[in-house]
Each structure stands twice: as structure tokens, then as C-alpha cells.
């Protein structure tokens, strides 16, 4: 039977506010346990929440960026459950009247599938603390620094039809929130966490199959792998005559399998009700319009402009516009060197390689956009070849300095002087009798390939600094002269 995969995502985005959603405690990452958990976060008796305006503003920014209706009146509710990292015994969240209503984003997968994914809504809520289960004499340790960190939970409709689409959607949300500057986007630190609702149904069937929920996936690659693994499990299960049980499952990246975490039979037992400690949040058009006026250029618009203005391919434009810091860097590099395609190749090539290898964010790149631009200018004007440029790049990365200074002090300037190249070519030919004989004996149409050896020798003799175009021309001319 042919199966259709149906996927909906719930993405939790940690807002990059300075303080908690309902208290004035800091949200900075990496502090000593419980040093940023105040009386409100600990739910001590007599404390009351006071709502952070910046969290509201960021949620509205997101809503505007995904073409959504903004809730001019939104209401906080209590979602009741017991867990030690939730001191109040309920999570303050939104349900019936969220801050962001229905919206949509357009996605495109690597293999070119385009789709509009509808958002059901997005709401504001607070994060829980962290439980540490290792080595406390049979006890669990609780760190409440994270408790009360503002989150926006973005709930999509079940509109995605493959794991690739799900990953493309998550990437798009990531690009939007980082471009807006409302989330640092650091998935490894849990700033963006993803739950995937996955079901299958026979192709053509209208009603949805029973879904399972894959919890807390923290990389785009794992989204794809977790969904693929779960889909294969569900197909096997049904084709063997079994039934999918609605439950929460955990993806184990090491074993590449999903396993049951807890049954969701108590799903309706959260006993939501409006939080009596918090009044309805009411905002007006002028508040929303003022935020609209501050929105930066969004990834889709920037991508379209990169194609239009710089003549980039759709793929290159998509990659470069997906992360604001990278897009900003790229534009500065273009400005500095005046060649959009060369800059694209270097930002996505050599620079991306070095950043990945050293796990560095482009914001902290040791080579600035202006420095890179200065290097590209020297490739363009033939001062150095592409290969030498990589060497200059490496030195610039490790030691700093401008491309011009490095080229000067390292003596890497390309030799374009024909006389000098001719002299070296003569020496190479004089010292390679065997290869010259082979060249002479070869069919004329095969001689082109044999130039490689001589080319290598010349480059070796010049430390790679000879202009490759000039060398080829001179070599060919001199060798062919020997053949006649």
C-alpha cells in the first residue's frame, strides 16, 4: 500500500528577553544553579506575576512576520500538572485566546518542493526548570534558573507531507525568529525545541491516522531522521496488522530509534482555566503598528532581493538569507569587493568551512566582512590566484591583518611578468627530458592533458605564485615548438 505521511510541528522558541516573563530575574544562560530563580519563579506564597512587555512585543513581531492576526486581547491560563521543575504546579500559558492567531509561512525543500504551511496559532508561555537525575544519592536535583523564561510556542497545522518538509519548515521558523532578533536560535542550548506530530494514512484517504508525538528534538538533521524512523515504525506496525497508539515518544539519535515515553491517555487532564493572577492583555492598533514599523527585512524578502539585485541562484540566495548575521556579513563583503558571486562563493565556501570546523558563529568570525572583501579584491585584480587566496585566508584567520599586508609580507604576489615565467618554464623543460620526450611522442590531441606535470613543476618552483593562465599559454607554446 502507498502511505501518505502527515506531520505537524510544535516549536518552542525561547525569547531573548533580559528577564523572565513574569519576574525581574535574569534569563542569562549558564549561570550557577538557582542564582537566577527569584521568589516569583520559585512560587513562594504571596508572590504575584508581572508581565514583561518585551515578551509581548517579541510575540507580536513574530505574529506580524508570519502574516498572522494579532490577538488584541489575549488571556493567560493555567495548565495544571505536577512535576518538580514546575514549582507552581501549573504552567502559565495561553489557550483559548492566544496572542498570535492563524498565519502561514512558505517553505521550499532542498529538492524543490514548495508548500504553504499554515500556522494554527502561537502563544506565550513560561518555560519550566531543569531536572538533573544523575548522582544525588537517589534524589533528583532541580535547577530553576530556566523556570519562567518566556517562550513562544508555534503550532502548525498538519500540513507537511515529508520529513524534508518538516525540516524546511523548522529552518524557516529559525530564520524568521533569528532575523527578528527575538531568539538566539541556539538549538544545542535549547533556545529552540521541536515536537513533531507524525501519522500516516493510505494515500487518498481523508481522515487522519492516529498520531504519535516525538518530543524535544534539537537539530534539523534529527527532525528528518526521527520522523523517517517513526514513519517506518508506523508502516511496519500497521502492515503487520497492528495499531498505532497515541503516545509521546522519544527519539534516540545514537540508536536511531523512537521509544515510548508516556501514554497520552491523560491528555485532557490539564484542567486549564484563566489565571486569576493575570488580567487580560489588551493592545491596540497603534501598539501593533509601531512594532510593524520596526520589523527588519524578512528572510523571504531578502532572498528575493539577493536573486534580483545580485543575480544569485535560488539556492545560494536561500542559504545566505537564512541567517541574518550571515546575510549582513555577505552584504558587507559584497560592498567591500564589488563582486556578488565571488563573495557568495567565499562566504558559503571557505568561510563557512572554517566557521563550522571551529564551531564559530559568523558574528564572532575572526575575519571581518571588510577583511574578506579586501582579499576578494586581490583575486579580482589578479594580484593572487584562487589557490593563493586560500593560503592568505588561512593566515588572516589565524593571525589577523589585511589581505594586502599578508600578500606583501609573505611575498605571495602573483607572478604575471611573462619574462620571469618564461625563464622558469625554460628551466623546467630543461630538467624534464623524459617528460618532454613523452610529450613529443603523444598524439597532438592528448598533449593538453600532459601539461599538468609541467604546470605542477612551474607552480612548485614559484611557490604557486605564477599566474596559471599565463603559465599554460607559455608552456604550450614552448613545448609545441619542440615538437616541430
Amino acid at each position: 500500500m502507498e502511505w501518505e505521511v502527515v506531520i505537524g510541528l510544535e516549536i518552542h522558541v525561547q525569547l531573548s528577553t533580559t528577564t523572565k516573563i513574569f519576574s525581574g530575574a535574569s534569563t542569562a544562560f549558564g549561570a550557577e544553579p538557582n542564582t537566577q530563580a527569584c521568589a516569583v519563579d520559585l512560587a513562594l506564597p504571596g508572590t504575584l506575576p508581572v508581565f514583561n512587555e518585551n515578551a509581548l512585543r517579541m510575540a507580536v513581531m513574530f505574529g506580524l512576520a508570519v502574516n498572522a492576526e494579532i490577538g488584541k486581547r489575549s488571556v493567560f491560563e493555567r495548565k495544571n500538572y505536577f512535576y518538580p521543575d514546575l514549582p507552581k504546579g501549573y504552567q502559565t500559558t495561553q489557550l483559548a485566546e492566544p496572542i498570535v492567531g492563524a498565519g502561514y509561512v512558505d517553505i521550499e525543500t532542498d529538492d524543490g518542493v514548495k508548500r504553504r504551511v499554515r500556522l494554527h496559532h502561537a502563544h506565550l508561555e513560561e518555560d519550566a526548570g531543569k531536572s538533573l537525575h544523575e548522582d544525588f544519592h537517589g534524589m533528583s536535583g532541580i535547577d530553576l534558573n530556566r523556570a519562567g523564561t518566556p517562550l513562544v510556542e508555534i503550532v502548525s497545522e498538519p500540513d507537511m507531507r515529508s520529513s524534508k518538509e518538516a525540516a524546511a519548515y523548522a529552518r524557516k521558523i529559525h530564520a524568521i525568529v533569528t532575523t527578528l532578533g527575538i531568539c538566539d536560535g541556539n538549538m544545542a542550548e535549547g533556545s529552540m525545541r521541536c515536537d513533531c506530530n507524525v501519522s500516516i494514512r493510505p494515500k487518498g484517504q481523508e481522515t487522519l491516522g492516529t498520531r504519535t508525538e516525538l518530543k524535544n528534538i534539537n537539530s534539523f538533521r534529527f527532525i528528518e531522521r526521527a520522523i523517517d524512523t517513526e514513519v517506518a515504525r508506523q508502516i511496519d506496525l500497521i502492515e503487520d496488522g497492528g495499531k498505532v497508539v497515541q503516545e509521546t515518544r522519544l527519539y534516540d539519535p545514537d540508536k536511531n530509534e523512537t521509544r515510548s515515553m508516556r501514554s497520552k491517555e491523560d491528555a485532557n487532564d490539564y484542567r486549564y482555566f484563566p489565571c486569576p493572577d493575570l488580567l487580560p492583555v489588551v493592545i491596540d492598533d497603534s501598539y501593533i503598528d509601531a512594532i510593524r514599523a520596526t520589523l527588519p527585512e524578512l528572510p523571504d524578502a531578502r532572498r528575493a532581493r539577493f536573486i534580483e539585485e545580485f543575480g544569485l541562484s535560488e539556492y545560494d540566495a536561500g542559504v545566505l538569507s537564512s541567517y541574518r548575521a550571515q546575510a549582513d556579513y555577505y552584504e558587507q563583503a559584497v560592498k567591500a569587493c564589488g563582486d556578488a558571486k565571488l563573495a557568495a562563493n567565499w562566504v558559503m565556501g571557505e568561510l563557512a568551512k572554517y566557521l563550522n570546523q571551529s564551531d564559530t558563529d559568523i558574528k564572532d568570525s575572526p575575519i571581518s566582512a571588510e577583511q574578506l572583501g579586501g582579499l576578494l579584491v586581490r583575486i579580482k585584480d589578479n594580484t593572487i590566484s584562487g589557490n593563493i587566496a586560500k593560503k592568505v585566508f588561512e593566515l588572516m584567520w589565524s593571525k589577523g591583518g589585511s589581505a594586502d599586508d599578508i600578500i606583501e609580507t609573505e611575498g605571495l604576489k602573483q607572478v604575471t611578468d611573462t619574462g620571469a615565467i618564461e625563464k622558469i618554464v625554460d628551466e623546467v623543460i630543461a630538467n624534464a627530458d623524459k617528460q618532454v620526450e613523452q610529450y613529443k611522442a603523444a598524439e597532438p590531441e592528448k598533449r593538453g592533458k600532459m601539461l599538468g606535470f609541467f604546470m605542477g613543476q612551474v607552480m612548485k618552483a614559484t611557490g604557486g605564485k605564477a599566474n596559471p593562465g599565463a603559465v599554460t599559454g607559455i608552456l604550450k607554446q614552448k613545448l609545441d615548438a619542440l615538437c616541430n
Binding site: 533580559t18 538533573l132 488580567l279 489588551v282
Partner: protein, 95 residues
């Protein structure tokens, strides 16, 4: 609407309340009568009445995003039964 014994046990479990076996009949009766009152209220025609999220006729005040809390861990943890390496210790929880 009337509750039975299993409803009361479930509600107690959800609220993590330990109740005496012998008290269950009286809880069942009391809770049922509360629900009966709610049933009665449900009969009122509320069409055209906005749902009420809060009885106060006011909207939420907002706070500026500025740190106002200092680290008071030592004081806050002085009332905790068990603390280690700055963490609150609780009976082991593993999902």
C-alpha cells in the same frame, strides 16, 4: 450530575491529594451537589454575554524588561529540606 467513587479517586489523584477511604462517600456527595449547582447555573441563557476571564474590569499592567532581582539563593534555599551544589533535591523523578 452525580459523581461516583472512581471520579472522586481520579480527582484526588490529579490534585495529588491522599484521602481516607472512609471519607470518599461524603466527598462524592459534596462534590456532586456542587456540580448540581453548576448544572443549575448552566441553564441561564448567556447568549450575547462575553465570557469573563477576570472579574476585575481592568487590563494587565506591563513591566519593563529590566533585571530587578538579585541572587538570593542562600536565603531562598534556607527553608529547603535538601540542597546540594546549589540544586534543590527532590525524590527521584524519571520518566
Amino acid at each position: 450530575m452525580s459523581l461516583d467513587r472512581s471520579d472522586v479517586e481520579r480527582i484526588a489523584h490529579l490534585a495529588r491529594l491522599q484521602i481516607d477511604e472512609s471519607d470518599i462517600p461524603s466527598y462524592t456527595e459534596n462534590l456532586s451537589s456542587i456540580l448540581n449547582l453548576i448544572d443549575q447555573m448552566q441553564q441561564t441563557d448567556t447568549s450575547g454575554v462575553e465570557p469573563l476571564a477576570n472579574p476585575l474590569d481592568a487590563v494587565l499592567r506591563l513591566r519593563e524588561d529590566v533585571v530587578s532581582e538579585v541572587n538570593q539563593r542562600a536565603a531562598l534555599q534556607s527553608v529547603s529540606p535538601a540542597v546540594e551544589e546549589g540544586l534543590f533535591l527532590v525524590p527521584k523523578v524519571i520518566e
